[in-house]
Symmetry: C2
Subunit: 332 residues, 2 copies
């Protein structure tokens, strides 16, 4: 019979201790965690970045990843775009009574393996088991700490002429998870991936990077609008330059969505000084996760009504819709 999680696994008694030791400590194996005290003790120095995010994707296992990999990618990428080398993360598991222990182990294993690959250590955790109906399946709440190696990034620093670059196809994560939820088979999977290694290459290249952001909730459009508003500028992108897969266009047309609003979980948007744009593009493309990178647009001008414009191949300019509402909950 399949083993299921019980309320006792979250009760703080023997069953909780057993679950923590046999599952979490076994997979997350590191000396900091093995102390099993109330906090992790760490040595850090200088400026650090500190971030938090909760992950609620459904299905938990999707083409190209799972909720465990997503938690690592989300945490690592939030630190990376702050110019910080990811060092430590925490993972708090919020679970529903009756959740499959086998699925939980797959998720924990995946989280652990991705964290190792990305060079981030899981140093503290928590497990809560809620009665049936208290939560639908599993949520992972994570936080991350990193050491700032590149200072001065700010979404308020964009100026006329700066170039906008994306590191790859946009919308794969949102399109692929949505398709799976609706029961179609798409040939593409999620782009979900931790990207510190790629970001590090750019930051160490001596280029003038103004801002970086991972386009998760709200997609590319949310990032560009946030920058436009923080910097009080208009941004113009070229429709033809934005890398969007055929399959993503297909599902977007079918469902009446904009690919620019779909969440990515393994892409970075960069704002860089235009003189460095071509060289930054080459560095990104030289990385296996950045082969499809493109310069997609530029900062047009100062503006007191900041907006994002899309130029079509026919030379027509239209406004990119800012993200609004929530058509696709539990995507990330």
């Amino acid at each position: 019979m399949e083993k299921k999680l019980t309320l006792a696994h979250g009760g703080g008694g023997e069953e909780t201790q057993k679950l923590i030791k046999e599952l979490f400590i076994t997979h997350f194996k590191n000396p900091i965690l093995e102390r099993m005290e109330d906090s992790a003790l760490l040595e850090v120095k200088g400026k650090i970045a500190y971030t938090t995010d909760s992950f609620t994707v459904k299905p938990y296992f999707f083409k190209g990843g799972d909720i465990g990999k997503l938690a690592v990618a989300g945490t690592v990428n939030d630190l990376a775009v702050s110019g910080a080398r990811p060092l430590y993360m925490t993972a708090s598991f919020i679970l529903e009574e009756g959740f499959s222990l086998e699925d939980l182990e797959r998720i924990v294993k995946s989280l652990s393996e991705e964290a190792k690959k990305a060079g981030i250590q899981i140093v503290a955790g928590d497990t809560k088991v809620l009665p049936k109906g208290g939560v639908d399946g599993i949520i992972i709440a994570a936080s991350g700490l990193g050491e700032i190696i590149y200072d001065g990034l700010s979404s308020a620093s964009l100026e006329e002429g700066d170039s906008i670059i994306v590191s790859g196809f946009i919308g794969d994560h949102g399109a692929s998870v949505t398709a799976q939820r609706l029961g179609f088979e798409l040939p593409i999977g999620s782009d979900c991936a931790p990207l510190w290694d790629l970001v590090k290459k750019v930051l160490k290249g001596g280029f003038k990077v103004k801002a970086m952001r991972d386009p998760t909730r709200g997609g590319l459009s949310a990032v560009l609008y946030e920058w436009a508003q923080s910097s009080q500028v208009d941004i113009q992108v070229e429709e033809e330059a934005i890398p969007v897969r055929e399959e993503v266009w297909g599902i977007c047309e079918f469902l009446g969505l904009e690919p620019y609003h779909l969440a990515c979980e393994g892409r970075i948007v960069f704002a860089v000084e235009s003189k460095d744009a071509q060289k930054v593009l080459e560095v990104i493309r030289s990385h296996p996760l950045g082969r499809e990178a493109q310069i997609i647009g530029r900062v047009l001008r100062k503006s007191d009504q900041p907006k994002v414009l899309i130029k079509t191949p026919y030379g027509v300019e239209r406004i990119m819709e800012p993200p609004a509402g929530e058509l696709l909950p539990r995507i990330c």
Copy 2:
């Protein structure tokens, strides 16, 4: 009409920005958070403590506190018992579509006020809104960072003769939340409180403190068993010395529970060298949140079958039941 949370509040678009600015930034007001980038940038030095916990209590508003205050108390106390001055925390809100915006504001306000009083800054956050049924109401996932000011605490350091002290009545939180959930009126409320100020007084007194722990899930019994196992010792407590209110005994008898298994959210258990026990007790009692502190027992001896013994007033010794199972989910 009462305003309710919609999926759009978590979608990453305009409504999300509005909620973040009008609710979270307004209440949590601090320059680090106002940057509104993907991570908080902080200066730290030396050894730090890093912790995480999720809070799932139901009802969200209980006598003596609410889920917001609980999140601060839980985070601050986890850092305090690690010998760390609480500095920064993150708060990730996981919310159900339809949740009352008025209740959310009360919770955010309470979290913010308690954090200010406790001297911890909320530097990063996240909001997810799940479709109806995705989560029952609200969960707050928090993490915390502190600066270690007292090094060398360890649950594996207890030795024969060490004294065990609790800072006040045990079980008030568990008893009071349970009573409320069952619909009775208890005259007592939760003990929920951040205790750094009390802990700091003890740590700065020059005493030899071996270990500290906040007895949350699994209560006093979970703490004593963890120490017994980590240090490979038997611990003996005096039944008469353990401060338990009449009303807590009453509800425990009624429901067949042990007060030693009930969660506290504003108590600390200390293990100290016996020569310092009386002086530590005086310091704790001199604090408004430690007036009912008691020396409750001592480490008896090395043991390869570690256990916790209770001595009754008649001189009989019995084994304290280790916590097991989960009779009371969503207490903390």
